[in-house]
Amino acid sequence: MIPRNRLRPALFGCALISLLLFAGMLLVRTYGSTSSSRTYVVFLVNVMLVVSLQTFIGNSGIVSFGHVAFMGIGAYMTALVTILSTVKAAQLPDLPSVLGNANLGLVPAIVVSALAALIVAAVFGGAIIRMTESTMAMATLALLVMVHTFFQNATTYTRGAVGLAGIPVRTTIEAATLAAMLFLLISRLYKESGPGLRLRATREDPLSAASVGTHVVRTRYGVWLLSAAMMGAAGSLWAQSVIAFNANQFYFSITFALLAMLVVGGRTSLTGAVAGAAIVTFLTDTLARVEQGVAIGPWELPKITGTVQFVIAFLIIITLILRPEGIFDRWEIDDLVRRLGPLARRARRADLVEAEAVAAAAPVRGPDALGSAASVLRGVQVAKHFEGVRALAGVDIDVRPGEILGLIGPNGSGKTTLLNVISGVYAPSEGHIVFRDQEIIGKEPHQVAGLGLARTFQSIRLFAQLTVRENVEAALPPGTNAGRVDGVLSWFGLEAAEGEKAVNLPYGMQRRLEIARAVVRRPSLILLDEPAAGMNEAESDELLENIQRIRSSLDCSVVVVDHDLRLIMKLCDRIQVLDQGRTIALGLPREIAEDPAVIAAYLGGPSKKSA
């Protein structure tokens, strides 16, 4: 599932943090007082809660104010199935007997709580997860308000603001330590898994994630369910550490505290989440003591209240100004250790040797793989109108197997619109497009990508904060051999930079990476939107070789849009010229160069370049 080059550091990182948590537990148990051990449990429970929330926010990039609702559901579920029957009967006389008689242990209670949260998440998530990012943040807020209203008023089950009491304390310091380690492990494994990587790709750029075959909504729904179940389980452990609670505890103050932990530590890093939990927990604890009134020598400080809220709010604002991505930014503890030690360099070399062997053994598709010699892509009378503007006024396009088709035309002639319609970004107003014998009108970008179409974008759209290797891996179709990634990286001269974040690459490499990301899918058709933009002659010659090599070694067809006529004339088998949303010429490069209509519309008179 998870490639070794990501699994090993992930496990190493989890082990390091677990070791710290474990050492902390031993210290507190051996030397600490009862109250410090209680604080440590609070910290560990906070770790579980914030790790659950981080799994959603950190990987998807979407803010949720609603996850505390799942914590509440987990906590109530646990209270209902663990409080002694007689105690329950006194507090909740109208409770149905199934719940009234239930008396579960620690683990079954956690499982039931996680399931309850999962079910509620499944119901509401269906609506929430389809929205755009900022709308979703608001919808999760609505979810919190709704669930909170329910907690307050469904007194048969919750006793509202009065609350429930008598939950057996089973979240011991040992149990909490173990559980926190498990939460970390689950979250980290998810982050490094295929779905986790693809989700992080949608965080960076949803459209280009879809164009490499990721079903954005389904990927987000998956993490929504996972994080809700984790939150439910964490709520269960929380309930079993506090004895009593009421409806008002699952509202804004805890949401605020959890978000503060994420902001301070770094919301895209699990290590940061743990650090944030530590800082906020111990700050809260210290301030709570101060609020009780502290004697410093002969002076006694007056009792004050509400300082926690203040201090945390200041902490958030200061962090966001000084270090907007939090203390740990996007780094995990193993990234930091790796930068210091030679440990992973050795590991990486071993991986490379292995990968080269895999790449060499990978079958290269033969020319007959495409079956018939019919068109790979055929569009008939494709039209697209934008509020009265006819961007495409009925264009036919026909791409043959193994062909490189150039698409040229003046600005606004409809080239990019045509690519967007073919790749499913826009639904056409009229016309049909058949790709590999399937009608693709009405299909979403990720579905079209799934059929074997890959593309690049006019303005580069990489997954900016992911590494070069992760960019390519995120595009790899699920279930394919990860060795293919290495082959593609070395093909495009990117292997030396594989650990670098895409955003830090020089321009030419970013262009190459975008093509590499398309190529790793082994598509039957690649659409390149102005790949030579901003390149000098030498770079564009190198690009030409690369495109020819893509065609010959993948046996795929290529559609290239570009303004670099020298490149187009040298590279393409046929050229189609668009003007004002219509095809004005189609033919061999030589024919196009001499076509009077093209010269009039596009070249604006006889041109030296076209000779």
């Binding site: 990039g61 803010v63 509401f124 269906g126 609506a127 929430i128 389809r130 929205m131 755009t132 990012e133 900022s134 709308t135 943040a137 608001m138 919808a139 807020l141 609505a142 979810l143 308000v145 709704m146 209203t149 329910f150 307050q152 008023n153 459209l207 605020f256 978000l259 503060a260 902001v263 919301r267 509400g306 809220q309 203040f310 945390i312 709010a313 200041f314 958030i316 604002i317 966001l320 100004i321 907007p324 967007n420 970004v425 974008f457």
Partner: protein, 296 residues
């Protein structure tokens, strides 16, 4: 529900809806220019409330009290942007959201410390409680005043945005901020103006809200602004006309749910209206009137 009851409830719906509409408009305006959801927006309503409280203690007549309330929100809004949001203006959507969340907590905490957790009463003119008999229909004066002031503010603001030069700059900035700057629109001025107008809207809505509740506490602004957030989402975030319609829609929904739900379900009126909204968004994720769409 009899026809006369229906008319009464309709006026109530317009009155509550226009408060939501004002707030949703203020939120949408800032979202349009900065792409930012201002979570501390509710605190402007709270600030209005406490300014009114202070002015009342100073013995001023209600009209002056109300004006002070509106101005206080406008000024606080501009200050909030200067102090908290400007230093991180180019930060991500999420960072801005978190900052505003923290500002909200700071302001709430400040009132908790400086005044009290408990609600303080604010006296309003007695005729607010009276009702006018129009044939078979009894309509409360406050509802008429609220709906009226809401309508006047909305018309005035629309005229300002459509007719004035500053309004044009704001519309330009809201459709494409980078380009608008290149065309000579001064970023700081437009942003300050957006926060000023958005703050004044919160102030007007705040006065109307306080007139209904006749008291203020540190979390006064919370309920109406949650509703306004939801209203702007129904309307399509960043869509100003949508925000107004969304506010009116949500107000109507809430008033009629209050009137129609049986007594045992009354505590769930707000939750039910949210549920209906989520259902609507399920069918139309872009909101009823369409959000701004990112182009490829």
């Amino acid at each position: 529900m009899s026809p006369s009851e229906f008319v009464q409830q309709l006026v109530n719906a317009l009155s509550l809806g226009s408060i939501y509409a004002l707030l949703a408009l203020g939120l949408s305006m800032v979202y349009g220019v900065l792409g930012m959801l201002n979570f501390a927006y509710g605190e402007l309503v709270t600030i209005t409330g406490y300014s009114m409280l202070a002015a009342t203690y100073a013995g001023m007549p209600f009209v002056v009290v109300a004006l002070i309330g509106v101005l206080a929100a406008g000024i606080s809004s501009v200050l909030m942007e200067l102090v908290a949001f400007r230093p991180i203006r180019n930060a991500s959507f999420v960072s801005l959201l978190f900052t505003s969340f923290a500002v909200a907590q700071l302001v709430q905490g400040a009132f908790r410390q400086a005044v009290s957790v408990r609600a303080r009463g604010i006296p309003v003119p007695e005729f607010f409680d009276e009702a006018i008999q129009l044939g078979p229909v009894r309509i409360s004066v406050l509802s008429i005043i609220t709906a009226g002031i809401g309508a006047i503010s909305l018309v005035a603001l629309t005229t300002f945005i459509r007719q004035s030069r500053s309004g044009l700059a704001m519309r330009a900035a809201s459709s494409d901020f980078t380009t608008a700057r290149l065309m000579g629109v001064r970023a700081n001025r437009v942003i300050s103006l957006a926060f000023l107008i958005s703050g004044l809207l919160a102030g007007i809505a705040g006065v109307l809200w306080i007139a209904r509740t006749t008291s203020v506490n540190p979390t006064t602004g919370f309920v109406p602004v949650i509703q306004a957030f939801i209203a702007s989402v129904i309307g399509g975030l960043g869509n100003l006309r949508g925000a107004v319609l969304g506010g009116l829609f949500l107000g109507t929904l809430e008033v009629f749910l209050q009137a129609l739900l049986p007594g045992s379900l009354l505590p769930y009126a707000q939750a039910s209206s949210l549920l209906i909204v989520v259902a609507i968004l399920y069918v139309r994720p872009q909101g009823l009137f369409g959000a701004r769409v990112e182009t490829v």
